[in-house]
């Protein structure tokens, strides 16, 4: 069994939030400007020794001292920041997972805090205001379905002088559910593989099987709204279709003849999305479990989650 997205690190390291950045988590190193700054201080010192210029000594040591002191300022900017939670909305494989980090800094403002997931491209810089909870989105690309846990979240700052950078590598318990990448093989393909729960009563659903117009009710698929009527000022009116009520299809993993599990899951994913879009009542059959027919957002999410976690062992 594969540990999707988790193969390369030890899940034991991950800890549940809240995580407070303390002494043993924060590292400080000079930035490249810090290296240049130190080189300049060194040259100044060299010149002062050469010319035996006391004021030169004083300036070299003043700048050196300021660099030295700034280490503590940089360090203190991170010290005591608390990561309250890390969470993410589910995404489809191939999309970008956006983890929302909630962080607070206590009584003082923490300027210029950079949040980053190393494998992600974008970093997010922002201040954590005093006595407030800041929410930051950091993103990372997804490749495979399953549960994505960021290997590491790095929080850093180079405030105030930009010559030193303090950082902490955090391994918070955070998960992003990654649905399979949907495959839309054929339009309405789900009909072929779907087996009606009430066979014979199954009616195809399509735009040609229009039955009647009725007032819009919450829950009606948006694509069934008669925009033509709406534009004429008649309010929201839904187009009702034959067979949408009382008939259901069962999307069956075993009915697909692909040899590859991922391919099958991707197809099922595409079918679930298409069925949901069309307002069809559908159920899902996976080798290990059956999901009875239903419809709506919650049902869709349940089915997609089942696909995402199919064959994935969770802690």
């Amino acid at each position: 069994m594969r540990l999707l997205n988790r193969s390369s690190h030890n899940p034991e390291k991950h800890e549940p939030p809240p995580i407070t950045l303390d002494l043993r988590r924060i590292y400080v190193m000079p930035t490249r400007y810090g290296v240049i700054f130190m080189a300049i201080c060194g040259l100044m010192l060299f010149g002062s020794i050469n010319y035996n210029n006391n004021l030169g000594f004083l300036l070299s040591f003043l700048l050196g001292g300021m660099g030295f002191v700034s280490i503590f300022h940089t360090w203190r900017t991170l010290m005591g920041v608390t990561i309250l939670s890390v969470g993410a909305q589910p995404v489809f494989a191939g999309e970008t997972a956006a983890f929302e980090i909630a962080a607070e800094g206590g009584e003082k403002t923490r300027p210029l805090i950079t949040f980053k997931i190393p494998e992600g491209e974008e970093e997010s810089v922002q201040d954590i205001e005093a006595n407030e909870i800041s929410r930051v989105l950091v993103s990372t690309p997804t490749v495979k379905r399953g549960v994505l846990t960021p290997k590491m979240i790095q929080i850093s700052t180079h405030y105030p002088l930009g010559v030193f950078r303090a950082w902490a590598n955090l391994y918070p318990m955070a998960e992003c559910l990654v649905y399979p990448r949907p495959v839309f093989q054929l339009i309405n393909q789900y009909r072929e593989y779907g087996t009606g729960s009430d066979e014979g009563n199954f009616e195809t659903v399509g735009s040609d099987d229009f039955k009647e117009l009725r007032p819009y009710q919450p829950g009606d698929p948006i694509r069934h709204i008669s925009w033509k009527a709406f534009s004429r000022g008649r309010g929201l009116i839904s187009k009702a279709f034959i067979g949408t009520i009382g008939s259901a299809i069962q999307l069956d993993y075993n009915a697909l003849n692909d040899s590859d599990t991922e391919q099958r899951l991707s197809k099922l994913c595409g079918m679930i999305l298409a069925a949901d879009r069309d307002g069809v009542v559908y159920g899902l059959t996976l080798p290990d479990r059956d999901y009875p027919a239903g419809k709506g957002e919650a049902h869709k999410r349940t089915c997609l989650k089942a696909l995402a976690l199919f064959g994935v062992s969770r802690r």
Binding site: Y51, F57, L58, M79
Partner: protein, 649 residues
Amino acid sequence: MKREAPKSHMPSLITALLIAMLPHFVDLPAWIILWVLCAWSYCYVAVKYKLPLPGKVVRSALTVLGVAFVLSGSGIRLDGTAYVGVMCIMAGLKPLEIETHRDRMITVFLAYVIIITGLFKSESLTVTLYMFVSVLVTTAVLVRINYPVKAFRETMKLSGTIMLQALPVMLILFLLFPRVHSGFWGMSPSSVGKSGFTDRLSPGDVSRIVLDDSVAFRIFFEDEIPSYDRRYFRGIVFWKFDGESWTRGVSAPLNMRPVGGDNKVNYRITIEPHHQKWLFALDLPLKAPRRAFMQADQVIRSRRTVREKLTYELSSYLDFHTGELQRWEKSALKGQAEGNPKAQELALQWAGAQTEPGKIIESALQFFVAEGFEYTLNPPEMRDEPIDTFLFETRKGYCEHYASAFAFLMRSAGIPSRLVGGYLGGETNPYSDYLIVRQSDAHVWVEVWLEKTGWTRIDPTAVVAPERIRRGIENVLSPDEVPGFLQKGRFGFASNYINDFLMWWDAVSTSWDMWFSAYSFDAQKELLKKIGVDIDSVKGLAGVLAAALSACLVLGLLIATALVMRSRRKKDPVKAAYLVFCQKLENVGLGRRPSQGPADYARMLAAARDDLKPWAAAVTESYIRLRYAETADKDSVKQFKKLVNEFKP
């Protein structure tokens, strides 16, 4: 927070560069200043009216052009001035490219480098204070380019905080960083000619030096300051007279024989750089200070040209006896009275009448008094046979004319004589007990050799203008001759205050110089000895390094602790009181879970025990109100604390 557009950084970066460059504006070529100002103005205008900034090619071309101009101006040599020039050319062009964070950081670093170049000109207190100001501003700009959203005042405050915290580190390193011996007087990148004595004294030279009010040196006496008329500071002894000018004339041997004397005075002199090797000493010095040597005529010369402020310690006898006339002295004096026949004739006349040298001297001095000589800074020109002209025609002159004529007369009369150039008098600083000797105190007198006393100081000025040797030149010259800086009331009604302030400032900067500029290998050695480290052993040196490093480390730890403590101490009193409330409840088994907010917690308490309900409601309500809803005034915070204190679960 995203980085702001570059335009908002332009003014602050230009400010940093301007402040760093300002000390150089005095001696930079005008075209460089113009170049810099033009470039900056263009930057400013370009940002304001959204004009295009020049591209990379134009910038490179300008840089090459500017550097080429500077180098051609300095004769293709990268000396100190040219180096500063190149820096400034770059500082002018740098604001043209500050689009990226990298460029902006480099610009700030450039400002730091320019600051240090300004320090090589002088180490005075003014320059030191200015350095701190420039570092403060430049660091504020550094903070700002990293974090542009803050107000500039806050940025300055942060920069100031960092600087204050860095001061102890700076001080420790300054005191303990091992100094090297070799560059004792160092090499100044710039050498500016200064007025003062040279090894040739022509008529009119001293009257020119006197017009300069800059400080020649300062003297710190161990005990009492001698009276004005005993403060003769010996510099150069002139032996050779060519009928018009006096020159050193001999290479006197090194002093071997100790001088006998009385009234020993110990003192320290801080001499301003005069780009010569003469060191001045109160008449008559016992022996040369360190790194200098004394010749047999008590002329002290430094081993290296004095290019920087230099402090040395000396002892002198106010009353002394130099002993026998030496053989080298005799040969130096041989055949030294030529020309000026009328003067020679007069001297011979005196010598014929009396045999006692004291009487001859008396006659000569009497001659100056009786014949109506006048003391003036602007004597008429004396062309051929200047001494004859002075003695018999014009009879107007300054100290050098009198001394020169007197020495010549003595030689003609067969009395060994020589001319001494130096300073007389000086001004006591009322704010500190030291003496300031200025160029305007320059003076020339004569020494004659007498059986009884050896070389004896005779100052003919004393008889012509006695006030000069008692109180200074401003008391003997006619009012329109007194140099402007010596005139009383030159600052109008505020004269006294300004003079007082100038004296006070001189006292402050001098004590700074005494301590700061003089701090070197020797001073460090002394200091370390006091704390028990002997620098002469290599082990001691390593120890100093280790001490400096560990001191910094300890300081670092202290700073860290202070920072942590401060962030702890700053805890909100309202929150603290609320935590006390929670603690009290936890003691009875009703602790707050981390996930519970205050409101949830209050509900839980109410559900758990009926008697807690009103308390929980009151405390929670006040807590939420004080903490989140309004700005808490002191009274309501006090009330809240009281409420929590009274609470007993």
